[in-house]
């Protein structure tokens, strides 16, 4: 849990437009090693886009993003090598539909890290064991439940030994009863000191696990605070409204 002082991800004055829409406005954000940063906000606030700019699935118009003090590579082999160091978990799992669960997890290590097949498979089985889907190793993704698929997706990212992990609404596509099995894996990761940026609507997770909550609205970071401070004493009206609306009733 102990977040060190080195900022592993730094975003300075990041701007992005989709046509007329200013989706990211002057974003400044540091994520420290071992820190769990949760991005929350209403839909359309730009939190997913922000998350995706960190491994350049979205490009930015201006500003800069640094990883371990170096600007993100723009293209080619360097970019691919950089992405290999950052895990990414998607809302819709995106497991490779034509490959078995085991092959989903071993593909990255074998193709990118050049890990020998037997080593990669042994490690993959350990990871699948850890996320609780080892028995499914030889099935294809469509045969698994959403919760299982998402846990495989986490294992697939972990197989690359990432220095940080991005979670883009990892539980939003799941049936309610499957959300916890995925969150538990994430809590476990956070305990082990993984650097995590998590876009989520799971307020309990945010409160329990994160070191810092970043609240976004209309493409801007409105507020940044410790979870207790944010949930108990939100400063901006936007944040108050948002918290009221999700607590509701």
């Amino acid at each position: 849990m102990a977040a060190s002082d080195t900022a592993i991800i730094q975003m300075h004055h990041v701007d992005k437009h989709y046509g007329q829409l200013h989706v990211l406005q002057d974003i400044n954000l540091d994520v420290h090693k071992g820190e769990v940063v949760v991005l929350i906000g209403p839909s359309g606030s730009g939190k997913s886009t922000l998350c995706r700019t960190i491994n350049r699935l979205e490009t930015i118009d201006s500003g800069e993003i640094l990883f371990e003090g170096k600007p993100l590579p723009q293209e080619g082999k360097e970019l691919a090598a950089y992405r290999a160091e950052i895990g990414m978990v998607f809302q819709s799992f995106n497991l490779f539909a034509h490959k078995s669960i085991l092959d989903n997890v071993t593909l990255g290590p074998r193709e990118v890290l050049k890990t020998p097949k037997d080593v990669a498979e042994k490690e993959a089985m350990e990871l699948l064991e850890r996320v609780g889907v080892a028995e499914q190793a030889h099935k294809v993704p469509a045969q698994l439940s959403g919760g299982q698929q998402q846990r495989v997706a986490i294992a697939r990212s972990l197989a690359m030994h990432p220095k940080a992990m991005l979670f883009d609404e990892p539980t939003s596509a799941l049936d309610p009863e499957m959300i916890n099995e995925v969150l538990e894996v994430m809590v476990e990761l956070a305990r082990e000191g993984m650097t995590m940026v998590v876009v989520t609507h799971e307020m309990n997770f945010a409160r329990r696990v994160s070191n810092r909550v970043v609240f976004m609205a209309d493409g801007q970071i409105m507020e940044e605070a410790s979870p207790d401070e944010f949930f108990d004493h939100p400063k901006t009206d936007r944040a108050k409204d948002f918290l009221d609306s999700i607590r509701g009733h």
């Binding site: 989706v23 839909s43 359309g44 730009g46 997913s48 886009t49 995706r52 491994n55 699935l57 979205e58 080619g76 082999k77 691919a80 090598a81 950089y82 992405r83 290999a84 160091e85 950052i86 895990g87 990414m88 998607f90 809302q91 819709s92 799992f93 995106n94 497991l95 490779f96 539909a97 034509h98 593909l107 990255g108 193709e111 990118v112 294809v140 993704p141 469509a142 045969q143 959403g146 997706a153 697939r156 990212s157 690359m160 596509a173």
Partner: protein, 281 residues
């Protein structure tokens, strides 16, 4: 997610109620009667015009007739198989060129694709048969037939492959990027394998078109099934009976190809490809 494959009928119509069931039953009876009447008139017409006379059919009992037809069939199969392979390879190359980052390569491939797709294969055959030899390039009839058929099919196949690539969910590529795969590996290991599975039915339809295209072989005097049938027709003066038999052979070939497609689609697990909805932001 692992949705059962629903038939077209299930997708378009709801389960029939009592009225619909009655109407369907009446429709079935009426169409059966109409079909029976049609068959009766066809056979009657054959009879009246003496097409059922033994002399038009007896040559079909001779081994030499069938040997000649089988030789033709072998020609058809050779042209269709070689054209099928060439057109798939060429179609794949055209598609890869077209989706490449290079603007020039992409434009060239687009023009070639559209050209091959819009030219009738007969015109292409005339080009290889009549024009090219004038400039000193002589080739055997087999190639004068196979190359134009391949070119015509490659244009269509390039578009089929492109549709397949476009049908692969974007999330598959993003996931591949995020584990650090390079562009080439993403194309070959993630996108193409899935795209090919998606387009298997269209590939097979195109193979059927190729088989039918081979029937213009007479233009270059290549002995395919159709050409040999024409020879038999003039020998025995048996137009209707011969074309009847040849039609059945073509139907059987294409029936077999279509069943191959169903088998392939099942085997390659077409069903495993489930599409999740994508919504970034």
């Amino acid at each position: 997610m692992s949705a059962q494959t629903t038939s077209m009928r299930d997708a378009l119509y709801e389960a029939p109620g009592p009225k619909t069931k009655r109407r369907t039953a009446i429709g079935t009876v009426v169409s059966l009667v109409l079909l029976g009447v049609a068959i009766f008139f066809i056979i009657r017409q054959f009879y009246i015009t003496d097409q059922l006379n033994e002399r038009y059919w007896s040559f079909l009992l001779e081994w030499t007739t069938w040997r000649f037809l089988l030789e033709g069939l072998w020609g058809t199969v050779r042209v269709a198989a070689v054209s099928g392979v060439i057109s798939m390879a060429l179609g794949l190359l055209l598609m890869l060129g077209r989706i490449s980052n290079s603007k020039v390569l992409s434009a060239i491939c687009r023009v070639l694709t559209d050209l091959f797709r819009s030219l009738p294969s007969l015109l292409l055959i005339y080009f290889f048969f009549l024009v090219i030899p004038k400039y000193g390039l002589r080739m055997p009839p087999f190639w004068m037939l196979t190359i134009p058929i391949s070119l015509a099919a490659s244009g269509v196949l390039a578009e089929v492959f492109r549709a397949g690539v476009n049908a692969v969910p974007k999330g598959q590529v993003e996931a591949a990027m995020s584990i650090g795969l390079t562009h080439g590996k993403i194309v070959w290991k993630i996108v193409l394998p899935q795209a090919l599975r998606i387009v298997i039915p269209s590939l097979v339809s195109q193979l059927v078109v190729v088989v039918k295209d081979t029937t213009v072989a007479y233009v270059v005097s290549f002995p395919d099934l159709m050409q040999n049938a024409r020879v038999l027709i003039s020998n025995y003066d048996a137009l209707v009976s011969m074309y009847f038999v040849v039609a059945i052979i073509y139907i059987l070939i294409n029936y077999a190809i279509n069943h191959l497609s169903i088998y392939l689609a099942h085997r390659s697990g077409n069903k495993i490809i489930s599409r999740e909805t994508e919504n970034p932001l």
